[in-house]
Symmetry: C2
Subunit: 343 residues, 2 copies
């Protein structure tokens, strides 16, 4: 993507370091950070300098490459893999990327591993960008406005290029629609408690896509009053039967979409499908620090000492999902539908 005329990805290699955009500073400031060790990468993932299931996977691959450059032994690779896998439990792309890297590195002798690791990590980044572009192509036909000139899309959290390497998942069809001259308007839900809706608003603003921010609480009203043509979200994990773990609050939007007959699509690369899990209740749901709910930018939002719980994700049952938009097509959120995508 272009940001103020400058081409950007969410992650790249330069001067021997892995560079990322520090997303904690957005939307106020566009600041990059250089990560030099696997520990740097693990911290950046855990503390959410970067986030988004596809990007977490690609970043973890780069973390492994940094580890291998330092020490290419089997033991060092296992240590680095364990460190990265422990950062965030819900997104399956992280495990997928680490497993891919481990398999590739096991096939070459230690002396050749650093070169292999960086090549594989970079290839993974390039592949992710292409995958997301294809998700855009596959999802574009879903953006139909009926008799209106403009398609009204509701999205949740940030599933744009900041959450991937380029293009994004849920936003890829939106960007493609914009490129091809189709009028779109995006309702952006705030996405408490970490307000990733602000990242989506920033992305869409930079790309010139019309959008409006709303409180998460307003999404039922939007759907009830017929102001949304299609709901389009990303995913952190899709199970073999089509249950979807995504940013907490996704489930409520899916319930409201169903109640009002509005299609609810999940956009995700095939690497987000976890064929090893069936029922979504088996997905580990990350619980983060309650201070994400009780504090914001140094301001206390609740009385001193208020207890808070803070689940980062929820599970939307397959029955509420109109389809899964992948790089190889839109499939039903069913065992049969997803099985078609299995490699």
């Amino acid at each position: 993507v272009l940001v103020d005329g400058i081409p950007y990805r969410s992650l790249w290699i330069a001067d021997g370091a892995v560079h990322i955009i520090d997303q904690r500073r957005l939307p106020a400031d566009l600041v990059t950070a250089a990560l030099n060790t696997v520990e740097d990468v693990a911290r950046a993932i855990r503390e959410m300098w970067l986030r988004g299931a596809p990007l977490i996977g690609v970043a973890a691959a780069h973390g492994l490459a940094l580890a291998v450059r330092h020490d290419p032994s089997d033991a060092a690779i296992e240590r680095a893999a364990a460190l990265l896998l422990g950062t965030r439990p819900t997104a399956v792309n992280l495990r997928w990327a680490v497993d891919e890297m481990r398999a590739a590195l096991a096939a070459v002798p230690p002396a050749a591993r650093a070169e292999t690791a960086f090549a594989r990590a970079q290839a993974m980044a390039d592949a992710d960008a292409e995958t997301c572009r294809l998700i855009g192509e596959q999802g574009l036909p879903l953006l139909t406005a009926g008799e209106r000139s403009e398609v009204r899309i509701l999205t949740h959290c940030n599933a744009g290029w900041l959450a991937a390497v380029d293009w994004g998942t849920a936003l890829a069809p939106v960007y493609l629609a914009r490129e091809r001259g189709q009028a779109v308007h995006v309702w952006v839900s705030e996405t408490r408690p970490r307000n990733q809706g602000a990242l989506t608003a920033w992305e869409l603003g930079k790309a010139g896509v019309p959008h409006t921010l709303v409180a998460d609480n307003a999404c039922g009203h939007l759907l009830q009053r017929g102001m949304v043509d299609v709901v389009l979200v990303g995913a952190d994990r899709v199970t073999a039967i089509g249950d979807v773990a995504n940013k907490v609050g996704t489930y409520l939007k899916a319930l409201a979409a169903r109640a009002h007959g509005v299609p609810f699509y999940v956009a995700a690369p095939i690497s987000t499908i976890d064929f090893g899990v069936g029922d979504g209740s088996a997905i580990p749901i990350e619980e983060r620090d309650g201070r994400e709910v009780t504090e914001l930018a140094g301001t206390r939002l609740a009385p001193e000492g208020t207890a808070a719980r803070n689940w980062a994700f929820d599970v939307t049952p397959a029955t509420l999902v109109s389809g899964v938009v992948t790089e190889r097509g839109v499939v039903p959120a069913t065992t049969d539908g997803l099985e078609r995508l299995r490699r």
Copy 2:
């Protein structure tokens, strides 16, 4: 209620002025404000120094009394009534209270109106406190824990004593349960964009009621995972057929409660029932300044120039409401059920 050992109501008369708690300053500071004119009262309602459907009604009655003290003419009363009715459109208690006051004042000559007005306003405050206590009595049997020792309640926004004169509506049964030794735990939803969940956390903390704050987005997860026994919310308007306008986000919680077979009760005084409106889609939904979404306590939450929409309420259809808890009993959210309460 007692706050740090001192008896409090949310509104009282002293030294010839109407005193309120400035709820914009909570939960950080307990600060009171003296209102001397109807214009003061109208501003306090519009700018949400005070809020909550029952309290808005009682405050408006006091505003009319202040106006009448200044000028008891019919014209002055009509001007004051129009000013107050224009502050906030959704809560029906406001109109109810103004109409009650107008009728009472029309029955007495101008010279007697100030005395009548203050007496009626104070009587309305006392009646509201008693009404809320009765709502507590009526609602208490709904707080059943099954086999657990503790009833787990989910509430939204603030429907406690800060939203009424004393006791509150949805929280009245909770306070009564606590008084009578029944173990309760309250899930408090943050209630973006104005974070009235913090008021509820503050109230419950002062009363020693165990509670936990969660993002609004987490409520689907809570209900899906069986962590809630009953949902209990207030209302700004209940229509003749049982549709319920309440704080935006209520509808999403009702959908999730229904999806998981958890009862969803609305607690409100009979004055909240608008027998003149059937379908909830006819209720005017207040839209507030988008900056409530894009800014918080001086911090920008979205990129400069981001458009935002900010509906303050939504409508939960009667079919999702397990019952309406009033001072005269718990009735079904149906025309027949509500008709029984008509005076």
